[in-house]
Symmetry: C2
């Protein structure tokens, strides 16, 4: 199929900031795009050819959307898989496939998949209801403290909580969840693997993630990770094994823990462009969004090498501010070397809401990290 | 004014491929954009908030468009300047200013401006009508051969012709023109200068241009230029002087000749993002489109340093093909190291029509140039 012709139609499920950044790269290739999103004001709405409002979890909305296009991809995992399976049966290309998405969408299933495939991950127990967790604590089935994770629809720190006392369970959702052993780790890492429809694979350099203590959101993404080369290689090997096990098409972002003993454990995966790859826009030979396009269109994959070192800073709403967003001191940070802000276009800010990100690029990663600190201290996402 | 708010409205005159690439960067900053273009199918239509169909040279179309926005910029010089002057009188920001545009839009005026400001340029004569040129040749006022340039609306090799015999004048437009001395030059160079509203200035590295012999279109843009450092500095100094003379806001692309005697002469300028800066998207710390945005919004200018060396190849329609475009062997070139195609989205190809460009990036410029050769040999923009 000639993708570089107006006959070909690409459908994207989800029109958030990932979809928006993906669309810039579809424009570069002049690909005709359809976007499905429940939000009439979705960030991606502007850069697509046809925007359709609909529920990503509703069978009919997803099925009817898919019927209009030739190839369907996603910017978010929480979509109706029955509809995607039906579309695949009817000959539509769906990347990542619903088969892959089923193994990822539910976090309990995801963890069991690692076990079944002998992929390293922290010990855990799966529970159908939160009440069972309480019983398990009482009868010694699991020990405190542990990490509670909702099996469904967790993102941006929602759906994850460290449980130190039975009381901590109080306000949690009642449904299916896992209790994961709290592993003391040195570092959180991530590796993005790209795989095209023909099975060609490329692995991005390892990034290091610094998390915000309260919000449990990534605060800095540092590339390359400041860890020993052999550990970087180990992380890439495990990411590659994970990618092989899923046999996905498109990107797979693999989030990893580096333990005190320098073991590497898989935290979770996302089969799409990912927050841990935003710095590739400025820093990599091939940005993750172009790479995802190359992969799902079965084009040759681009080089995953770095042009420069980088640090990505998430722009999240400051505590104590809700309302029309103002990016205080954005001019100040733009005067710093190698700094580019990316504003996602959400009108309303609230504490810890992801409003954008800032990329800092330089020849040396330490210089990036120092400037990133200043960026973090200077810019304030407030309401006004 | 807070540009990073939905209240601010940016107007762009022209919705071609330059406007389209400029818009990606407005999206990055979440700026609300209006685009005016005569073509209902303009490439930039997709990425703007509001598209208005209209004639860029019609007073009312430009004036009524400008009234709806806060700041007006251009992607093409050939716009109605009376309307822009009126809008400026009424307090709208117009960057570049109509005052600057008047000095550039007409090529005869542009050449006289260089003379008046002691900026080096090839000797020339200005003529109100083509007939006067013929007379001047006959009475020895100008010598053959010389370069004929239309004073109005020349671009992409249109409006420029080397005249070797009186017969060569036959098919030329009859209006105002200049006859420029044919200067034997080693090389064509270009330097882009960015100037923000506060007068802060930054200069990009010198690029070297290789032209297609027949089409008189840029075939390769090579950055950094493979010339001696002192000549690079000289070219940057002249570009900077030219920028100061125009006192423009936004980008100024300065095209230069390097003569056999290593003198540098100004060929022409463009007060906007330019074909000689496309490689900055992949290769520079700050791409020309983001830099133009920073300049007109009076934000701090970004670094103009290279991350990597680059070569840009124009994708033009192959001779002998007219009709629905097909990019033959695009998969082949995408398998080469550091190659990214940019497809402009024009449906119809014709000989030498600009259909897109390809950027090749690498650590060494010679490797880029070698790969660019392969790209040029492999890809064919044909009809099918």
């Amino acid at each position: 199929m000639n993708y570089f012709s107006s006959d070909f139609k690409l459908g994207i499920l989800g029109g958030g900031q990932l979809g928006k950044m993906l669309l810039y790269n579809t424009r570069k290739f002049d690909i005709t795009t359809f976007v499905l999103d429940p939000n009439e004001e979705a960030p991606a709405k502007l850069a697509c050819n046809t925007f359709i409002k609909g529920d990503l979890l509703n069978y009919d909305d997803v099925y009817n959307f898919g019927k209009q296009v030739d190839l369907i991809t996603i910017e978010i995992e929480n979509v109706n898989l029955d509809a995607l399976e039906q579309l695949e049966k009817e000959g539509k290309k769906v990347y990542p496939s619903p088969k892959t998405l089923r193994k990822i969408q539910n976090k309990a299933t995801q963890k069991l998949f690692y076990q079944d495939n002998h992929l390293p991950t922290a010990p855990f127990s799966r529970f159908a209801f939160l009440s069972e967790v309480e019983d398990a604590i009482k009868n010694g089935g699991i020990e405190l403290p542990f990490v509670w994770k909702s099996a469904q629809f967790g993102y941006d720190g929602n759906g994850v909580k460290i449980v130190r006392t039975v009381g901590d369970l109080k306000d949690l959702p009642k449904g299916e969840c896992i209790a994961e052993q709290l592993v003391p780790f040195k570092n959180e890492l991530a590796v993005i693997v790209a795989r095209n429809a023909s099975g060609k694979v490329k692995t991005y350099p390892v990034v290091e993630m610094e998390f915000h203590p309260e919000a449990n959101q990534v605060e800095y993404v540092i590339c390359p990770a400041r860890i020993a080369l052999n550990i970087q290689q180990k992380a890439q090997e495990i990411a590659l094994k994970t990618s092989e096990a899923y046999n996905h098409v498109g990107l797979l972002a693999v989030e990893l823990f580096l333990t005190q003993e320098d073991d590497i454990l898989i935290n979770e995966v996302a089969p799409r462009p990912h927050n841990s790859g935003h710095q590739t826009i400025e820093a990599s030979f091939t940005c993750q969004f172009e790479q995802h396009m190359r992969a799902i269109l079965d084009l040759p994959l681009g080089s995953t090498e770095n042009k420069v070192a980088s640090v990505m800073v998430n722009l999240v709403g400051a505590e104590g501010y809700t309302g029309n967003v103002v990016y205080k001191n954005i001019e100040t940070i733009m005067s710093l070397d190698g700094v580019t802000p990316h504003i996602y276009g959400k009108r309303e800010t609230r504490p810890f809401r992801k409003m954008g990100h800032v990329t800092i690029i330089n020849k040396e990663v330490d210089k990036d990290r120092a400037i990133a600190q200043t960026v973090k201290e200077q810019i304030k996402v407030i309401a006004g």
